[in-house]
């Protein structure tokens, strides 16, 4: 599903964000990517979603060579991914229903299909009763669930979550993780970037640790303590 081969990323200001990173993630896996601030986690996501081009090496996602993608093809490529952010990034002027429907409208799905799919998604994220609410009327955990709902609306094969629990209390974080597990169980590959030690130790999964742009450990059994 995801294959990074000797990937380097050096920014114009000289910062080496990724150094010789080689990672293989198979279909249906659930992988944590952990590391301190500045370890290259964000750049890792950016080379995956096509926001940044690697300086060297290849990034292949679902058979697409992301680094070689033409600018105009990036939107098409992104339709095959779901991305979840720490700060939710919901459209404040749209309701929960509209926010989720938006991801499908953008790719021009028929209205009937959209309505049906949004209802399904609302059930998955357990927010059917909040369909008509605006993001500001929701709690942080609920907003994050809407973001996840938007990300999975188009049935992506890969879901990338960037610190999805960063702004949430432990209880809400658990809910989000359980939701991500549910999505993973339905066949979607999940990559979650986090520095929440408790979560990583509680829900053990394959854990890749980045440090100053290098992969310093890749543990199949997971857990944070084991990797330090």
């Amino acid at each position: 599903m995801v294959h990074l081969q000797n990937v380097y990323k050096t920014y114009k200001n000289g910062v080496n964000a990724l150094n010789d990173v080689t990672i293989d993630i198979k279909d249906g896996e659930f992988v944590y990517v952990i590391g301190e601030t500045g370890s290259g986690k964000s750049t890792f996501i950016k080379v995956l979603d096509g926001e940044e081009i690697p300086t060297r090496g290849t990034v292949e996602v679902n058979g697409v060579n992301v680094g070689k993608l033409r600018f105009s093809k990036v939107p098409l490529y992104r339709r095959t991914l779901g991305v979840v952010f720490q700060d939710y990034r919901l459209l404040k002027k749209k309701t929960v229903f509209e926010n989720i429907a938006f991801a499908l409208e953008v790719i021009n799905k028929p209205r009937k299909e959209i309505r049906q799919r949004v209802r399904e998604v609302l059930e998955i994220i357990d927010l059917t009763d909040k369909a008509k609410s605006f993001p500001d009327e929701l709690s942080g955990g609920q907003q994050q669930r809407v973001t996840i709902g938007r990300a999975i609306a188009n049935n992506p094969k890969l879901l990338i979550a960037d610190e999805p629990t960063g702004n949430l209390d432990p209880e809400r974080s658990n809910e989000i993780l359980e939701l991500l597990e549910k999505i993973n169980a339905s066949g979607t590959t999940v990559i979650m970037v986090t520095h929440d030690i408790n979560l990583v130790n509680k829900y053990k999964k394959r854990t890749i640790k980045l440090e100053t742009g290098h992969v310093v450990s890749d543990s199949k059994e997971g857990g944070y303590v084991a990797n330090v």
């Binding site: 939107p75 938006f102 953008v106 790719i107």
Partner: protein, 298 residues
């Protein structure tokens, strides 16, 4: 295809209603400039009409040499007609000239009847010029023809007056153009702010895989609609304001020679012109802003 257009319109109207204050301030900026554009267009339109009327009503009086006999007249007339800018040419023989002269003197003209026997006047051509030509230019060319004794027209005064009107008309066009550019700048500025406020929205659209053209369409439709909104008040002002002015002046300015264009269809045309300008301004302004925002490279 239709589904897509429908969605773009839906997005655009949602954009307007959910950022109504912003849309309204953009529209206001357009309104103010369009009111000025309207005023100028009304003035320029009428000045053009007055200029045209004057040019059409002023004739050049071309006196023919007495040496030329009746048989040579048709050939001479062809030469006059061949001059650039000459419209209609009417021949008036010696007797007709005397009639005109006597009629021009009114009651006291009768004493000139004695000249019937031995008419001292020369025959003449009454020349009307085509619009776009100056009286002095055409007159000068006419005076060069052999067999023409003298060329008369309103002279410097008429020319000057027409020149002033032409200057008003030309500067009117220039100011209208400048105001239109100003309106584009104003709407561009406010839409820039709107789009800047919606930067996040654009980033999200991009994130979920919206193509640039998909992101652009609603903003452009919104811009066109805001431009149209901005044109409503100026258009109504134009129709009712002009109607009021036209009626209170009885359709004339100072004298009957300076007639104003009737409200129907002139004011309606100007109103439609304002609506079109509003939309074009909105289109260009929003395209400029959104393109700037979408200039994104990896």
């Amino acid at each position: 295809m239709f589904r897509l257009i429908g969605r773009h319109f839906k997005e655009a109207f949602q954009g307007i209603f959910r950022h109504f204050a912003m849309a309204l301030s953009s529209a206001n900026a357009v309104t103010i400039t369009l009111v000025l554009v309207s005023l100028l267009t009304l003035i320029v339109g009428n000045v053009s009409q007055i200029t045209k009327n004057l040019e059409e009503s002023i004739q050049i009086y071309v006196k023919i040499d007495k040496e030329i006999d009746e048989a040579q007249i048709p050939a001479l007339q062809r030469k006059v007609e061949a001059i650039d800018g000459v419209g209609s040419v009417e021949y008036s023989n010696k007797d007709q000239e005397l009639d005109r002269f006597i009629a021009g003197k009114g009651e006291g003209g009768k004493i000139f009847e004695i000249y019937r026997e031995d008419n001292p006047l020369s025959p003449a051509f009454l020349v009307e010029i085509k619009s776009g030509y100056t009286l002095s230019g055409v007159s000068e060319n006419l005076s060069k023809i052999q067999g023409i004794k003298e060329v008369e027209y309103g002279g410097a005064t008429a020319d000057d007056f027409l020149r002033v009107l032409t200057t008003i008309r030309t500067s009117g066009y220039v100011i209208i153009l400048a105001l239109t550019l100003l309106a584009i700048f104003l709407i561009n500025n406010t839409i820039n702010i709107t789009i800047h406020n919606r930067n996040e929205e654009i980033a999200i659209m991009r994130q979920v895989g919206a193509s640039n053209s998909y992101i652009r369409q609603p903003f452009v439709i919104e811009g066109v609609f805001i431009g149209l909104m901005g044109a409503v008040v100026p258009a109504l002002l134009t129709i009712f304001g002009y109607k009021y002015v036209y009626e209170s002046l009885n359709g004339q300015l100072i004298s009957g020679m300076l007639t104003l264009l009737p409200t129907n269809p002139f004011a309606y045309y100007v109103a439609a012109f304002l609506a079109v300008i509003g939309m074009v301004v909105g289109l260009i302004g929003s395209l400029m802003s959104v393109n700037k925002q979408l200039r994104w490279r990896r």
